[in-house]
Amino acid sequence: MVQPEVEVVECDVLILGGGMAGCGAAYEAAYWAKSKNLRVVMVEKGAVERSGAVAMGLSAINCYMGMKWGENQPEDFVRYVRQDLMGLSREDLVYDIARHVDSTVHMFEDWGLPFFKTPEGRYKREGRWQVMIHGESYKPIVAEAAKKALGEGNIYERVFVSHLLTDSKDPGRISGAVGFSVREPKVYVFKAKAVIAAAGGATGVFRPHAVGEGLGRIWYAPWNTGSVYKLMIMAGAEMSQFEHRLVVTRFKDGYGPVGMWFLLFKAVLKNAYGELVEEKWADLLKEWLPYGAGKPIPTPLRNHQLIRDIMAGKGPHYLRTDEALQKMFSDVQHDPKKMREIESDAWEDFLDMTMSQALLWASENTDPAKTPSEVVLTEPYLMGSHASATGAWVSGPEDLAPSEYFWGYNRMTTVRGLFAAGDGVSGSAHKFSSGSYTEGRFAGKAAVAYVHDNPDTPNVDSGRIEDIKKELWRPFEVFEKAAGTSTKPDINPNYVFPKQALLRLQKIMDEYAAGQGAFFITNEPTLLRGMELMALFKQDLEKMAATDLHDLLRCWEVWDRFWCAQAHMQHLLYRQETRWPGYYYRGDYPKLDDQNWKCFVNSRYDPAKNEWTMSKKPYIQVIP
């Protein structure tokens, strides 16, 4: 492989990631930047039009208050999130999203996103916080606005960002980022005064259920590899709740969404013997007070009930789509036109966002009105936008954040000038697409404010750039040096290909860090043993090999996932408690311990010393 060309891009605000959070940041930053003539640049490893978790579309927007209709107030949402996360959330961050998100959603409608409406003209609700959309083109619509806001010369597509840069004279300050093109041998050096880390959460850290080709059919996007976390961890930013992971119950093998079935169609989860899982294991919730007494039942506790029923040998488990649809058909007196509408809505739920599930139904000759479908618990994901709160520890909004949670600029991490939004922010769970976009907007505005206050150009050390360039290109050199050792490139004792490395990581995490294969159970001896294997693995990762730019992308995605795994294991070890049964269990600390652990677990990594510093941060109730 030829040596890369280097292109230097200078800007004021740099946005990493062109997904929902990144597009929100771009939209807001570009507006405020005009007043100061600042340059805003976005970098995306794919094509913004179809990138990130919303690439294929969504059938619902899961974070909408409906304040203008008096449907919900932000305080209600804070209480909901607190309860679902078993008492721990950054209430200032959640309130902030809840009070603003309606304006984002109304704006999407204005841009052209089609919403289901009631006869009175309101958005048709799927559930208390969720509204239904015809969302096949959700991402292209949002991308169009972002592209127009930024201007074409300010978007770099097919560039993978691998490193953040901090000021060589002031390492607590961000100064830019480095990445490489996936299309040509080129390294980009982005110099910026403020950086917004808005790439997506982490999939593929744990072994999924499928094997072979099915490895790609996971619940969250396989191209969300945890870049946002790795970048911030390596820059020394403080991370929070990295022990938290998301495990969801979804349709088996296709991983189609269940929200509409549960909330709107009122389908229920029954085992093979017709028992209602939630009813049968109701007493279990009493072991998790006070959260087990709250309504709705927290997501992890619902998983926990299902796990118990599985262990009792009562599977397979089914979402009774048949019963739900038969009841709905009977409610409309079997009017053929209304039945077709119901059927159309049921299929749209998948066709807008998980076509796999629709194809799976068709391949198994499943008519949901006649046959129930199996559900399963997924492998764990690390993300901050769903019913989970992994991410960076960030400052909240000035007007309402307690002093312990505010340090100058909304959504700024502990690295000055480095902001985060979306999956990358810890503590603001349940934001989903619209909330992530809105959080991006906070970061976009705050980043412009930061540049306004800090107009000096931070330093980028050219020696550091040279080191990074060599690091980036090393997989090619590893391959070229060792290529002659074997007649088959796949089997070579001197290197590993990224796919091989990925599978090894997934197996270690599955077995030692409470993956689905371990029934989500771990303990201290298991974690320590896993860390031993990860230490060996890290050395071997220096010997990842690549033969082309696509491989190089995959190598660096493995590094993303590796660092997510490292942080996750540190946090799992540090929290001596099981707060979220159904997400994971500490076999050695099997109970909830509000007295000692009703707090956030935070960490900082020092790359120079290879040291993790763990700490507890207080949980402060902001909303009564």
Binding site: K36, M67, G112, K148, G214, G216, W223, S363
Partner: protein
């Protein structure tokens, strides 16, 4: 379900700078096989089946085959995406066919004016809590807040 390319329909997007599927694939899987001048799925085990390439192909040359380790053969799911709606044809393994049409956009493509009707950005408001367009879009007269804890 990984995608596959029909060689009779694919022309490698000769008229474009790069194949449309290669341009759009979120995870850089759809590649051009230069030897035959046609596209192919280079990494089926990381294909999420997002259908971006299927929808974007100007020749409708790309289709989906269920994952080899999970999905029985014989069914198909085919989109026909227009400018304001999408039509899905679901063909079951047993031959049954269902067809569904859904809206995808209520405004013309390219018509977004990002800040239409907004006042000019005022730097004095940079530290405030309002986002741009709040007056137009929030739906309530004042941004809610609470006293600091």
């Amino acid at each position: 379900m990984p995608t596959y390319v029909n060689p009779d329909k694919c022309d490698g997007c000769k008229a474009l700078g790069q194949p449309a599927c290669h341009y759009i694939c979120p995870t850089d899987i759809m590649q051009l096989d230069k030897a035959i001048g046609k596209a192919f799925n280079s990494e089926p085990d990381l294909c999420w089946e997002c259908y971006s390439c299927v929808k974007t192909c100007p020749q409708s040359a790309i289709a989906m085959r269920g994952y080899g380790d999970v999905v029985p053969l014989g069914a198909s799911l085919t989109p026909l995406r227009g400018t304001d709606s999408i039509l899905w044809t679901v063909k079951f393994r047993d031959g049954q066919i269902k067809r569904f049409k859904y809206p995808i956009r209520t405004t013309p493509w390219g018509s977004i004016e990002p800040y239409a009707g907004y006042p000019q950005a005022n730097p004095a408001e940079l530290k405030g809590q309002e986002l741009c367009g709040q007056g137009k879009f929030l739906g309530v007269p004042n941004l809610p807040t609470v006293a600091r804890a």
